[in-house]
């Protein structure tokens, strides 16, 4: 049942490209390199897939490659680093929350601008 997931499938499931997946691996973002099939092809486990999905979400929220590498190194060192990982995620969480807040503010500014354009057009149509 579980004979590993091909790189193209992982790409499809995560929205990353196969190129990017290899790059992440080289960059030290995997907990361990995915196992290889007989032909030398990567054969991702479910755990690998879950990890890559998490990586993709951290990346999407603006964590740098270096930040993810740090996180991966901690996660690869097992239980003793749980507290550090927690702190890393908490710090990141705050950054993301701040960014969301900033974007919401900027959004209302854009909406005001849109509103003035709407009024402007209306006037010119009277």
């Amino acid at each position: 049942m579980d004979e590993g997931i091909a790189i193209a499938e992982v790409a499809r499931l995560t929205g990353l490209t196969a190129h990017t997946l290899r790059y992440y691996e080289r960059a030290g973002l995997m907990l361990s390199p995915p196992p290889r099939g007989v032909n030398g092809h990567r054969s991702y486990t479910q755990r690998d897939l879950a990890w890559v999905i998490l990586l993709s979400r951290l990346r999407a929220t603006g964590m740098s490659i270096a930040g993810m590498r740090r996180y991966a190194e901690l996660a690869g060192s097992g239980v003793p680093t749980v507290r550090e990982r927690l702190e890393l995620l908490l710090a990141h969480r705050e950054q993301v929350a701040a960014r969301v807040e900033q974007l919401r503010e900027d959004l209302t500014l854009i909406d005001r601008k849109i509103e003035t354009y709407r009024k402007n057009i209306e006037e010119n149509h009277v």
Copy 2:
């Protein structure tokens, strides 16, 4: 009363650097190049400042330099382009809104991860 704003002051007020302000100007993002003082120094008007602030918000929400240039070109062409500008801003607004939504989802995922770490730590302390 109004003798123009120095580039360093505009930088301070917008959070951009003087380097970036010159770069934006070269990149064609200004409605018109800011006037120069007797010594050849840029002397931004209030209108320039307001425009740069808007640029900084568009940039902060992910609009590319090319997108801002397009917007600046339209805005520099006066009234006839109001509708196009409106459409450009509406499209951008949707992108930003979508990104906020995505970030909020990712945030809850991060929060779940944080929660599992918290539980994990608690267990190891019993």
